[in-house]
Symmetry: C2
Subunit: 277 residues, 2 copies
């Protein structure tokens, strides 16, 4: 099945970090004026603000608040640090509820001083400990598998299979998975794991961008959809085939784009969304 | 089973690229004088030299020539380029034979203008086409799965499972696999795939280094064993449990180490080999 072009912007969400130079108020106004329908809020964008008022402002612009980024970073060889991480994740859940979104995305973390297996166990324990809190707040937790190049400190969960296994084991309606093409495009089992994720009701979010050829920075050189080598439309089709009806979220960390005029960049995002997602 | 420390240097091999500032003659002399027993030769180290005489020089130093790096780079959307790659791989096989080694390591390649599936098919076709030539020369071809961060242009084979599947399908005594901790350490199926690789007689080579935390360059910031977060001794133990009796090859690309005095660097390698492999 080949991908059908996206004819309108009804499912387009942009992460605040994508247009990082814009304060959230400015981003919200510009997104709404351009027809963007969803926004995912990074916690740094909320600094120094009243969170529920900011949420109201976003809704006043007609924006759906798709998720809050990010919780996670559970593993640490030091138990007191792991406990502190749980507390910070509770704070993220509170912020999500105050903002008026029902999802927190988890960058799960990894401690290079211990084995990946130990880090994974601590991730699972951390999420398990949060489930009652998440349920009370009405906020779902989305495990985001990260590219293996981040296995040292950012995520001991490197594949969708691993995220699926963990979400299935936790077996809670408050825990699911976020699929990001940047992290997962290379994986030969991606199609099958997307199907599995959907089948278990765990596919909560879908993030898009592209892999630049060459990539010059491990973190801050993501490309706009269509610029790189990721088959975004094919992956989007697999996601749709699961019955996913959520937003397609544009999440781009890019020193290059952050230096550009953000209004011009927003136009490029919308064009790329229509033609290359 | 915990790793037994390596009590001597009888299985230590160093890649010429690890001490890139040294011409191969100087590397060979210094390796031999330090008790290193094996050398893997990168093709750039042979430039402008008589290859068989260089092989003789290495043997005169008492060095085993473990492999030639590297063949591969099979995929291309352009058929004439794919044919040229086959010819270049035949040349690599000839060079290996002239040098007096029985293995060519393959960095298999990937063309970002086509799907990874297409690239993999072209890799498999390319290796298949080379088997009679490799057999005649008495040279084995080692498929090296590369870290997923190189899936865009360097290798559409990103996991040991993929390399195993391809080697098993090609089903030739002249085709096997090279395991490099840098590329594979993050993979949750690594132990099981190493066992599988050994069981099928496909484990031809074992490369070691470390993953720096943080890593500042996608290519040229590899660490010395023990400096980073890779559990090298655990992986070495899995390799040994298959019955592998080959060399442990130190392959480090590092702008940092290449700027240092190479004699001092060689001392560090030997210390790290004894204590951290």
């Amino acid at each position: 099945m080949s991908a059908k072009p996206l004819s309108d912007l009804s499912r387009l969400c942009i992460h605040t970090i994508t247009t990082k130079p814009w304060p959230i108020e400015e981003a919200a106004g510009n997104f709404a004026a351009s027809g963007v329908k969803g926004i995912t809020v990074w916690r740094d964008a909320l600094e120094g603000r009243n969170i529920s008022k900011t949420g109201q402002l976003l809704r006043d612009h007609g924006l759906d608040i798709v998720s809050l980024c990010r919780g996670g970073f559970f593993p640490d060889i030091d138990r007191s640090k792991r406990n502190a991480a749980i507390e910070d994740n509770k704070k993220a859940i509170d912020e999500a509820a105050a903002l008026g979104t029902t999802m927190v995305v988890l960058v799960c973390g990894s401690d290079p001083r211990q084995s990946l297996e130990d880090s994974r166990k601590q991730i699972s324990d951390g999420i398990q400990a949060l489930i009652p809190y998440a349920e009370k707040a009405g906020v779902r937790l989305a495990i985001e598998p990260l590219h293996p190049m981040y296995a040292d400190t950012r995520s001991a969960i490197s594949t969708l299979a691993q995220a699926n296994i963990m979400a299935e084991a936790l077996n809670s309606p408050w825990v699911g998975v976020a699929v990001d093409v940047y992290h997962l495009w290379w994986d030969p089992s991606l199609e099958q794991e997307i199907k599995r994720c959907g089948k278990h009701g765990n596919l909560l979010a879908f993030h898009v961008c592209d892999w630049n050829v060459p990539t010059t920075d491990l973190l801050l050189d993501r490309g706009l959809m269509g610029e790189g080598c990721i088959p975004v439309p094919a992956i989007r089709t697999w996601v749709e085939e699961t019955g996913f009806t959520g937003f397609y979220e544009v999440e781009i960390f890019s020193n290059k784009f952050w230096k550009e005029d953000q209004a011009e960049f927003l136009k490029k995002i919308i064009k790329a969304y229509k033609e290359k997602v």
